[in-house]
């Protein structure tokens, strides 16, 4: 695992990946175990939900706003806000450690003077981040697949995969902000602040845009718009959305290559 910067980075992220994966699996299991009891009181719940303003319902529960179906339940309880937070937080934490982490630890000089090359280092660090975040996506998918099957409420492997692909790409896009800022400035904190700031701002933009017609035209600026918003599950594969998320990440990676190449490495 010490062959190059890519494998070394993977090795370093195994422990955080396992911790996050355990957390995800535990939470999914917990939620799905209470689903049967929720379904029994679905009538009451649905009545309450029906009394909410339709805009609020759309914003937080998705277009259907259906709490009682397995798809609606998974959307509301997991994929509308928790899963994006998990993917973004995980990707941001890994991205912050990638370039800025090596620099703050003082090991960046060592890497660069052992004929790694700046461009290659950026690409290897980025590739490691992609692999690890995708791995969390796979874990999330498996956990949901198993849990929904056990709860007797199968949602469909394909539909789940589509939703988690979009959420994984959302995490990577926001993580790329952290990766770029961290690499360009050499500060983990600046990278985390940028990623978290962008994540929160885009979430708010997308959520408010569903309730407010003035903001609605600007919805296209939010990455959440492309990851499925409040109901990633059950929308089918949105090719445009996936493309926008991928293009955002690619553009940020390209920016990192340029900015990281230019700057002075700190001692």
């Amino acid at each position: 695992m010490l062959r190059d910067a890519f494998s070394k980075s993977l090795r370093d992220q195994v422990r955080p990946l396992v911790m996050w994966a355990l957390g995800v699996a535990f939470y999914v299991a917990l939620l799905l175990s209470i689903y049967p009891s929720i379904r029994h009181s679905a009538g009451q719940l649905q009545g309450y939900i029906g009394s909410l303003p339709s805009a609020v319902r759309a914003a937080f529960l998705g277009p259907g706003g259906d709490f009682s179906s397995p798809v609606g339940f998974v959307n509301v309880e997991l994929l509308s806000w928790l899963a994006p937070v998990v993917f973004i937080a995980f990707a941001v934490s890994i991205a912050a450690r990638a370039l800025a982490g090596e620099e703050e630890n003082g090991t960046l000089s060592l890497l660069l003077t052992h004929t790694v090359g700046r461009r290659r280092l950026v690409l290897q660090k980025y590739a490691a981040m992609v692999v690890i975040v995708v791995a969390l996506g796979v874990v999330f998918w498996l956990a949901l697949l198993v849990a929904t099957a056990i709860a007797g409420t199968p949602v469909g492997a394909g539909a789940l995969a589509e939703a988690l692909l979009r959420l994984t790409l959302l995490g990577l896009a926001v993580g790329s902000v952290t990766f770029a800022v961290g690499g360009a400035i050499g500060s983990r904190q600046a990278g985390i602040a940028a990623g978290a700031g962008v994540g929160v701002a885009m979430y708010l933009l997308n959520t408010l845009a569903q309730m407010n017609t003035t903001i609605r035209p600007f919805r296209f600026l939010s990455l959440f718009h492309y990851s499925g918003g409040a109901s990633p599950l059950g929308q089918g594969l949105d090719v445009v959305g996936v493309a926008v998320l991928l293009a955002t990440s690619a553009a940020l990676l390209a920016a990192t290559l340029v900015l990281f190449e230019r700057r002075d490495v700190r001692v």
Partner: protein, 303 residues
Amino acid sequence: MTAAIRTEKLTKSYGKSRGIVTLDLEVEAGEVFGFLGPNGAGKTTTIRVLLDLIRPTTGRALVLGRDSHRDTLAIQARCGYLPGELRLYPNLTGRETLRYLANLRGGVEWDRVDELGERLDCDLTKKVADLSSGNKRKLGLVSAFMARPELLILDEPTSGLDPLVQHEFYALVDEARDTGQTVFLSSHVLPEVQRVCDRVAFIREGELIALEDVSSLTGRAVREIEVVFAEAVPPAAFEGVAGVTQVSVDGKNATTLRLTVTGPLDAVIKKVGEFRVLDLTSRLPDLEDVFMTFYADGGDDAA
């Protein structure tokens, strides 16, 4: 032959003052070159420009005949580097650290790593986090020497090393010279430079103030000589003797003579020999004195 290192009007500005100023430096292939100056003089800055970790404000540096910025990778493949402030991965053992660095670099024979580790008395089984700074430094030295690079760039190589390991390090530098490798080392430890280097450059506040052969430096050194005579001597007898710059007499009955002498001692010794001598001490010339003279007069003495 192409110079191993050549800087052309190299300048690196940080805000107002620090950095380096129009530095012109040439290190010949195969020599051991000392880069001497107090902390903050710009030694590390220069080295980091050579390795393309930072970019010059103006001017350029050629390393092994290639532009430090354009051909970074080609240069680094032929260079070994020890950073002044070495930071390693705390959770790796010494062996894992060297394995990783050797893999990154490529072309390292593991036998050589073992040999260096043994000679420098490295503990490769402990985690880096549990190593003292001297022991970490040894790992850095192994990584700099392991690929038998054409050019070794060592920033304060012996700081924190115990004397035995320092001795082994000097042996490694001598071997490097014997096999035709070039060594560029920075230091503020003067006897060290005197011990291992062929030539030395003095740098102060980012400017090169002198460049000398170590041997000629020693020849031009300023010495203080103290002679105790059996009877009083007339100071005037020593004024005007070749090399003597200052004369004073004191002690009981004016029998102790103090001389400040520059250069060869021959004329002085012959003059002293005309009187009955009880004792003679000469403070050995060390680089520090020379260094201080250069600094005191702002480098007017520079060749």
